[in-house]
Symmetry: C2
Subunit: 210 residues, 2 copies
Amino acid sequence: MVSDVSRRQQIESTASALFRERGYAATSVRDIARALDIQGASLYAHVASKEDVLWSIVSRAADRFDAAVTPIARDRTLPASVRLARMITAHIGVIADDLGNASSFLQEWRFLSADRRAQVAARRDGYEAMFRGILEEGIAAGELDPLMDARLDARALLSALNGVAGWYRPTGALTPAQIADRFTSLSLDGLRRRPGLSYPAPDEGGRTLR
Amino acid sequence: MVSDVSRRQQIESTASALFRERGYAATSVRDIARALDIQGASLYAHVASKEDVLWSIVSRAADRFDAAVTPIARDRTLPASVRLARMITAHIGVIADDLGNASSFLQEWRFLSADRRAQVAARRDGYEAMFRGILEEGIAAGELDPLMDARLDARALLSALNGVAGWYRPTGALTPAQIADRFTSLSLDGLRRRPGLSYPAPDEGGRTLR
DNA sequence: CCTACCGATCGGTAGG
DNA sequence: CCTACCGATCGGTAGG
């Protein structure tokens, strides 16, 4: 049982890396088994089905994003823009911490069965709503621009953040925290030069933050 | 021959819609044929292989993005920030104009053979470099903030733009041009409220700009 | 564009 | 975790 748990985790870790590289549909059960040096049929001593492996990976990833970001979003003692900065850092941290897991969640969840797909869609909608909610709080508090489209902006932000899973390399020049800081500056202040403005902003999301 | 050309286009259009819905690897040749009301084997009167269909779709999409965006990027009579705004509009226009084609290009190109994949990767790198180049020109001209990371910012922007292919619906509330305008504002000015600043900016990328 | 067919591979099971 | 095996489906071909 104890060894079964860790073997199961090995399977999910190996499978998520393969799903990231080749996609779920193009990865066979025997591909996963070969990477673990066992026979294809032997996998079924540990998992009920191929889809079950994907479901575990996707569920775990969703849990990780929720666990990292939700407490930040809910901390009303912090200004919305500071929470947003920390949510960005947390989200990118989850991605960088396990690229295969996050990529499988982000890209391969559509290969789940209809009911599981619906569950994931609901969780993703809730997650997006959390980002949208922070933007709306920021508008209400006068921190963020009232003309923005919170729904569209939350989608744009999450697309950009999730794109990190596609190109991030642990050996790259930028750390996850540096990437997150730049994303925060970009989101809050944009690309345009504003000569009269202090830059970075002293206490909210600038590149000196955290 | 004439009918072959249009039949070929029908096949690619049908296939790209299925690839968008289910993914290339999970779409069988017979799925494509069934959608066209012909037998699976009959497809091979028109195409050499399943991968060939994907290759045509991906090449066409790459051509469309290039044709729409490159002339704007090269027009040095316009300020970089104006070109950026128009590139964003053009890019989103290509996506909205043919969701299946664009989505297949963006998501399914990794299922091409190694050499074709390398060709697509090179084109995508060049396309990204074009956006990065505009940002660098904008910095050099004093329009854009010199502290930005052009490479990272170009990736963030393109990820956000490409994300539109995942959620855009022609029946939605926002037109492609409206989405593009909001993305432009978001990119250039960010989310933060700046009470002293005229908003939208009078002649560059504000929401009144085309 | 069809019927008939091919070898290969798929996810998964039986029985140890 | 293995060997042996299953029916289904895959991309693709032959021959009309």
